[in-house]
């Protein structure tokens, strides 16, 4: 489609020099996966090392490219690499190519950087697992697919990566598939993702029908003059895809169950990278959404609902990983909300995505470290007082905690505060509703993250008798430290200077300064106040209230447990009930209306199928009769069409 390329204003340079190596970013981890998965037991000895080396090599390439990109003018930072022509059917052809620009560069660095750290961590975490090599093979497969997703230059290739990360995610959630529940969790994730993928494939079909192209260039060029209806349809379908992949309302349910996978998987796939693919999709499709305000509004609504929903769920979970998963859902809700705001929010969505990648991965790995020391327990009610025995984990987790609740000057403060500010920009009811949601969400986040942190690391030791917590080995704590430094400092580097906003401007488009409906200092003050309230409340509930000494008899333990339950009941009646009613309604809706329609269709097809089947009696003479009737029909039809 050279004509469309020519019509583009921002043209991508052909990838030369270090950018010509872009394909290696994908090829290296893919090679790693191939060697590890096809090599079988022979690669057991060095599998984990090879598996770690591949994303690291990709990371090095990414950094070199990043530096090279910094050395160029902002408008000349886009590179395309043509890989090959996939389908040349007549005048239409589908090319497979890579697009390296500022946006994909952010993701490349995040995926390979955090990915490498998590690989290193996994060497220690999975040390005693007999299938460690297979685990690394899947991880490498995931890295390759995720890089393909963010480097693709067309929706079709993006779709390939999209399916690839889904496959890797499914394989990793079910990694311990000998536990039936885990297999069920894998199945749930599989199904929820299919719904989203369906949306993406429909979106691609509409694009093809509308613009005759599925490449980013072609679609964005076509989006300029397209009707708003078409753009809205595409936007909503893309949103459906994003909801499936990023666990957004109403397709959020799989993420909690996905925690069945090994913890590094939760950190890499279900916190830092894959689940943010939906945000990437929406930011990447900015030209489509900019032309479809209705679709944008739906994105914002979905984001707002999810951020509140996730926060509420987070307050009630006792399983440390599930609480973190709920928090992930909620934080991605923030990103979605920002992405739905349009050019004003795109950069902040990515900003929050990056900082979140660091602090959430760090906290998941920290949780993994705790579990490692606690015989793989996840019940926070059996934690408590771990800070004294696992110092490094405690400090690194603490930094992540400060970052996520948004305490200045840690990362989360800079990114989340920007989103809240952006949400308050606008006219009419919107800034109040969406900004309010973002603001309240920040308070609830502070509450449940503090609860999680305190229940795990502080207060009474409520350990079961057989655990003897100990700090994890160096190979696990060093990645924790690196991530903690990122959680603490990344925001400070990118936030006050607006470096990231300027960096992304050529991709997401510039926007003028608009003042929020409340002045910025007021908003920041309000946010910090709500955060302080959340922290204080959690502190009063989980530390201030005395937990009696562990008595010789079990009865005191029981009493302590009862008190916990009591607190939960309060939480529930205040916060969870409405959520539960809503959930129940949604389940009802899902069962009755959605399933009803699906089942009706299935029954219709099944009935037809059965009727047809009855013709297949096994009697050769009835077959001959059907053939004879068919022949008569054919002759009759031929004679008829002649008339």
């Amino acid at each position: 489609m050279p004509t469309i390329l020519a019509a583009e204003t921002t043209q991508a340079a052909d990838a030369t020099g270090v950018f010509a190596l872009s394909w290696l970013l994908i090829a290296l981890p893919l090679l790693g996966a191939a060697v590890l998965l096809l090599g079988g037991r022979r690669t057991d000895k060095f599998g984990h090392l090879l598996g770690t080396a591949m994303p690291f090599a990709a990371f090095v390439i990414g950094v070199v490219q990043f530096v090279a990109m910094l050395g160029r003018d902002p408008e000349n930072r886009t590179f395309s690499q043509h890989l090959y022509t996939w389908l040349p059917v007549g005048s239409f052809q589908v090319d497979a190519g890579l697009l390296v620009d500022q946006l994909s560069m952010c993701f490349v660095l995040l995926i390979t950087g955090v990915g490498t750290l998590i690989h290193i961590y996994s060497i220690g975490y999975m040390e005693h697992d007999p299938d460690r090599r297979r685990f690394f093979g899947y991880l490498n497969l995931f890295i390759a697919a995720m890089l393909l997703l963010v480097l693709a230059d067309s929706y079709l290739l993006l779709y390939v990566g999209w399916e690839g990360v889904g496959l890797a995610s499914y394989l990793l959630i079910g990694f311990w598939s000998y536990v039936p529940e885990y297999a069920a969790a894998a199945k749930k994730a599989f199904v929820a993702n299919r719904v989203g993928d369906f949306g993406l494939s429909i979106a691609i079909m509409i694009m093809f029908a509308q613009f005759g192209s599925v490449s980013f260039d072609g679609v964005f060029a076509g989006a300029d003059g397209a009707s708003e209806g078409a753009l809205t349809a595409i936007g909503l379908m893309l949103l459906l895809a994003a909801c499936g992949k990023s666990a957004q309302f109403p397709l959020q349910s799989w993420l909690g169950d996905a925690m069945a996978g090994p913890t590094p998987v939760s950190a890499l796939i279900h916190a830092a990278t894959m689940v943010t693919a939906g945000v990437y999709l929406i930011v990447r499709s900015a030209p489509v959404f900019n032309g479809a305000p209705d679709a944008q509004l739906v994105v914002v609504i979905v984001g707002a609902i999810t951020l509140i929903f996730g926060a509420i769920v987070g307050t009630a979970k006792d399983d440390i990983k599930k609480a973190l998963a709920a928090s992930t859902m909620s934080q991605i809700g923030y990103m979605m909300l920002a992405a739905g705001l349009g050019p004003i929010g795109y950069a902040f969505a990515i900003f929050h995505l990056l900082t979140h990648g660091f602090f959430k991965a760090g906290m998941f790995l920290g949780a993994g470290s705790v579990m490692h020391g606690m015989n793989n327990q996840v019940e926070m009610r059996r934690f408590g007082g771990i800070s004294s025995v696992m110092k490094i984990t405690w400090i690194t987790f603490g930094l992540g905690w400060l970052a996520i609740i948004g305490v200045p000057p840690f990362s989360g403060f800079w990114s989340k505060d920007k989103i809240i500010e952006a949400a308050f920009v606008g006219e009419g009811w919107r800034p109040w509703v969406f900004g309010g949601a973002a603001l309240i969400g920040a308070g609830v986040t502070a509450f449940y993250m503090t609860r999680l942190f305190l229940m795990t690391f502080h207060g009474e030791r409520r350990w079961t008798d057989d655990v003897h917590p100990h700090e994890s080995p160096k190979i696990m704590t060093i990645p924790l430290m690196v991530l903690a430094i990122g959680s603490a400092a990344l925001g400070l580097i990118l936030g006050p200077t607006n470096a990231l906003v300027h960096w992304l401007e050529p991709v997401t488009g510039a926007h003028g300064e608009e003042a929020p409906v409340l002045s910025v200092p007021v908003l920041t003050g309000l946010t910090l106040l709500l955060i302080a309230v959340g922290v204080a409340w959690a502190y009063s509930l989980y530390v201030r209230q005395p937990v009696p000494e562990v008595a010789p008899a079990g009865s005191v333990l029981t009493r302590a447990a009862r008190r916990d339950l009591y607190q939960d009941a309060v939480n529930e009646s205040l916060l969870m009930r409405p959520g539960q009613y809503l959930t129940r309604f949604l389940v009802w809706f899902d069962n009755r209306v959605v399933d009803g329609a699906v089942n009706g269709l299935a029954a219709l097809l099944g009935g037809t199928s059965g009727r047809f089947r009855r013709l297949q009696t096994g009697f050769v003479r009835s077959y001959a009769l059907s053939m004879f009737l068919g022949a008569a029909l054919l002759v009759g039809a031929m004679l008829l069409v002649r008339l």
């Binding site: 239409f92 598939s177 013709l615 001959a624 053939m627 009737l629 069409v641």
Partner: protein, 529 residues
């Protein structure tokens, strides 16, 4: 056609030796030659080592024939006094059939899965008889399957190349008769196998009677059996329309029977289920390729001037075929039957490409209806051969375990086999990056170019329905718990392994890198007339 020219000399009373371009017919001559040598080996060679010799000879013959096809590539002429066309579609399909026959023969030769092989020790022995017991104990097996297969392959090579209806009829019978026999030679479940054989034979003979009647009527209409002569008669509109229309319809019955299109599909599930699985795979892939080639040639070369008349009828057949295949497959409980219905559905998809008729791509000059069908047949053939080869691997004490419930949890027993089968199912369903997607894309875009958009809509909907039952099997294999007494996955000899690997490679290659083959199909899309 030598016989025609001989009779011509009879009338003209002056003798002239018909000129036959043997070099142009080399692929067929090689295959028929190998088949004849195979018969001689069967008659005269000692029992020991006969199996190996037959296998090597067959494979060598197929490879040699394929090489000679590639050497003929680019030819565009009529050979053997007008009886055989050596043109793009014929050569492409001959190459496809030969390539497909290689994994087909390899799976037939597999002997490590079942003691003594897939086929009965002697076709004439009764199951459970003393004769059979002795044969099994001594491990003696007749190997006539190889020459039979080669005869069938020879017929298949001639079928899409036949340029007159007499040659086409002969080719039809030459490819069918050995297949009728091969269907009845299963070692296990012999009664089902023989039942399949008898059903296939009776219905096949029934359909060839229709085919023949159609030929007779067309002959009566045009005074010739040569396709070009019929085309001339059609364009000059001489003769009775009733003869022409009825003849066309009856001719189509015979060909649609062979491709397994509704409403002439009823034999397919029963025969596919009963026949020995390697034969089913061979039959499902190669027969379909050959029969579609013949259908294309008849409709495009002989009856191209009649396209206005047969197109709506073919629309109807395509729709009915897609619907019947996809919908009935939904409720199948047997893997082989499910694949049979899937093959019916695929016949429908191919028919959608075929009705694009003479729509020519303005850029490449390719005849879209032909090139897309050529590509689809190649892609579909390898998926089918591979899928049926995988079916032979899942076994319990009673032989192959074909009931779907027995496939539950297969991924736990053998992730590799489950993954390979998933690949084939995904290709059947038309998932991108598999050959199935490229094929569907080709036929559907050809149909759109040929103004058959409604057909494409139905095709897409039916693909979605079909995807459902394919993925039901995937879900079954990966998410369900295996039954405690479920089947095991047998480790095959290199023969089957090579066949499956080849199929996987082609399926992936044609999905990821289809450019070259699509170009080849484009260039091969011109019929010589």
């Amino acid at each position: 056609m030598s016989a025609l020219s001989v009779s011509a000399t009879f009338a003209a009373a002056e003798f002239q030796t018909p000129s036959i371009e043997y070099s142009k017919l080399m692929p067929m001559l090689i295959v028929f030659g190998v088949a004849l040598v195979g018969v001689l080996i069967e008659a005269f060679m000692g029992r020991t080592g006969r199996h190996q010799v037959q296998l090597i000879l067959s494979i060598a013959g197929l490879v040699a024939a394929f090489v000679s096809v590639t050497m003929l590539a680019g030819d565009n002429q009529i050979a053997a006094v007008g009886a055989v066309a050596v043109d793009g579609p014929a050569l492409f399909l001959q190459g496809t059939i030969l390539l497909l026959a290689i994994p087909g023969v390899l799976t037939m030769a597999e002997r490590s899965l079942d003691r003594g092989g897939v086929f009965t020790s002697a076709g004439s022995s009764t199951p459970g008889s003393e004769h059979e017991r002795v044969l099994t104990a001594t491990g003696v097996t007749q190997t006539e399957v190889f020459p039979l297969t080669m005869f069938a392959v020879g017929g298949m090579l001639l079928f899409p190349a036949a340029n007159d209806l007499l040659t086409m009829f002969v080719a039809l019978e030459v490819l069918s008769l050995p297949l009728y026999l091969l269907c009845g030679l299963a070692r296990r479940r012999r009664l089902l196998s023989q039942e399949a054989s008898l059903k296939y034979f009776l219905l096949g003979a029934f359909s060839s009677a229709f085919f023949l009647y159609g030929i007779a009527l067309l002959y009566g209409y045009s005074g010739t059996v040569r396709l070009s002569g019929i085309a001339e008669a059609v364009s000059s509109n001489s003769g009775s329309d009733t003869l022409l229309m009825t003849g066309t319809a009856l001719l189509a019955v015979g060909l649609l029977f062979k491709v397994g299109a509704a409403p002439f599909h009823s034999w397919t599930p029963d025969v596919y289920q009963g026949a020995p699985t390697p034969i089913t795979g061979f039959m499902a892939a190669c027969t379909k390729v050959a029969a579609f080639g013949a259908l294309l040639r008849v409709l495009y070369v002989g009856l191209g001037g009649l396209a206005w008349q047969w197109e709506p009828v073919m629309w109807g057949v395509a729709i009915l075929t897609m619907v019947v295949g996809s919908v009935v497959a939904l409720t199948q409980t047997d893997v082989k039957r499910m694949l049979a219905y899937s093959s019916i559905a695929h016949a429908g998809f191919i028919l959608t490409g075929l009705v694009a008729t003479d729509t020519v791509d303005p850029d490449t000059g390719a005849v879209l209806g032909v090139s897309s069908v050529l590509f689809y047949l190649l892609a579909y053939g390898f998926i089918t051969i591979g899928a049926f080869a995988v079916v032979t691997l899942v076994r319990d004490a009673g032989g192959e375990a074909t009931h779907l419930s027995q496939w539950a949890g297969l991924a736990r027993r053998s992730p590799l086999v489950a993954a390979v089968f998933t690949l084939f199912l995904a290709a059947f369903a038309g998932i991108p990056l598999t050959s199935g997607f490229t094929g569907k894309f080709a036929v559907f875009s050809a149909a759109i170019a040929g103004d058959a958009a409604p057909l494409v809509v139905i095709g897409v909907v039916m693909s979605a329905v079909a995807a459902f039952f394919y993925f039901r099997v995937v879900v079954l294999m990966f998410f369900n718990a295996p039954a405690p007494d479920g089947p095991a996955v047998a480790v095959p000899s290199p023969l089957t392994t090579v066949a499956i690997t080849l199929s996987v490679a082609v399926t992936v290659l044609l999905g990821v890198w289809p450019t070259q083959v699509l170009d080849l199909a484009d260039r091969a899309s011109q019929f010589v007339r």
